[in-house]
């Protein structure tokens, strides 16, 4: 099913003391480039990485990632 995965990582990084992509990457065990790709919506993280990102920001998963179905 077509759809779009969006996220609030950029905003959440800003709200957490302008946390850098490298810092976030280090906390969840991926590279800075992978965080940049996730943030830009060019790479969909695994469920495990998504939960880890949400955990870093202390937010539930659906406040970090949103799924918009492409089917009208």
């Amino acid at each position: 099913m077509a759809g779009t995965l969006t996220n609030q990582i950029r905003t959440l990084r800003f709200l957490n003391g302008e946390m850098s992509q490298a810092e976030l990457g280090q906390k969840i065990g991926v590279t800075r480039q992978t965080i940049a790709a996730i943030e830009a919506g060019k790479y969909s993280p695994t469920l495990e990485a998504a939960f880890r990102i949400a955990e870093v920001f202390g937010k539930p998963l659906d406040e970090v990632f949103q799924w918009t179905s492409g089917v009208a």
């Binding site: 990457g25 065990g29 991926v30 590279t31 480039q33 992978t34 940049a36 790709a37 943030e39 830009a40 060019k42 790479y43 993280p45 695994t46 495990e48 990485a49």
Partner: protein
């Protein structure tokens, strides 16, 4: 650029830089198919293989010296996903190539023609491997 993308570029360029000239020579100046062993052809192949190994080795060393932390970092989930995808495609290319070379060509060809065709299929599969890795990294780059 992630360390593993640099390595994929290096391996792709090294593969093309070494084997395109080799196969161009082999195509336009084919060795006699029935002359085995053909020391001239073996020497040429050895030269290409050594050059390929040297470029790869020196390139890896260069990247390791330039950014040792990136080089030490283990592959993350995106690296692994890209490796899975590129290896899968390369596997099918190699399987198809080996069926052509190992099952069909012995009925019509012999000697160096088969040797070079086998090598070509390996190089083609590896080119797909690194090419798809590079394309996947570029496609998902922010």
């Amino acid at each position: 650029m992630p360390h593993r993308e640099k390595i994929a570029w290096l391996l792709l360029v090294a593969m093309l830089a070494c084997y395109v000239p080799y196969f161009t020579v082999a195509h336009f100046n084919p060795p006699p198919a029935d002359l085995l062993p053909n020391l001239t052809q073996i020497r040429l192949l050895a030269l290409v293989a050594i050059a390929h190994a040297l470029i790869q080795g020196l390139g890896r060393l260069w990247f390791r010296i330039r950014s040792p932390e990136d080089a030490r970092a283990p592959a993350d989930e995106r690296d692994r996903a890209i490796e899975r995808r590129s290896t899968t495609v390369a596997y099918y290319v190699l399987m198809t190539g080996m069926i052509l070379v190992g099952v069909m060509m012995p009925f019509t060809e012999n000697g160096w023609t088969i040797v070079n065709a086998g090598l070509f299929m390996i190089v083609l599969a590896e080119t797909f491997h690194y090419g798809i890795a590079v394309w996947s990294y570029r496609r998902s780059a922010a």
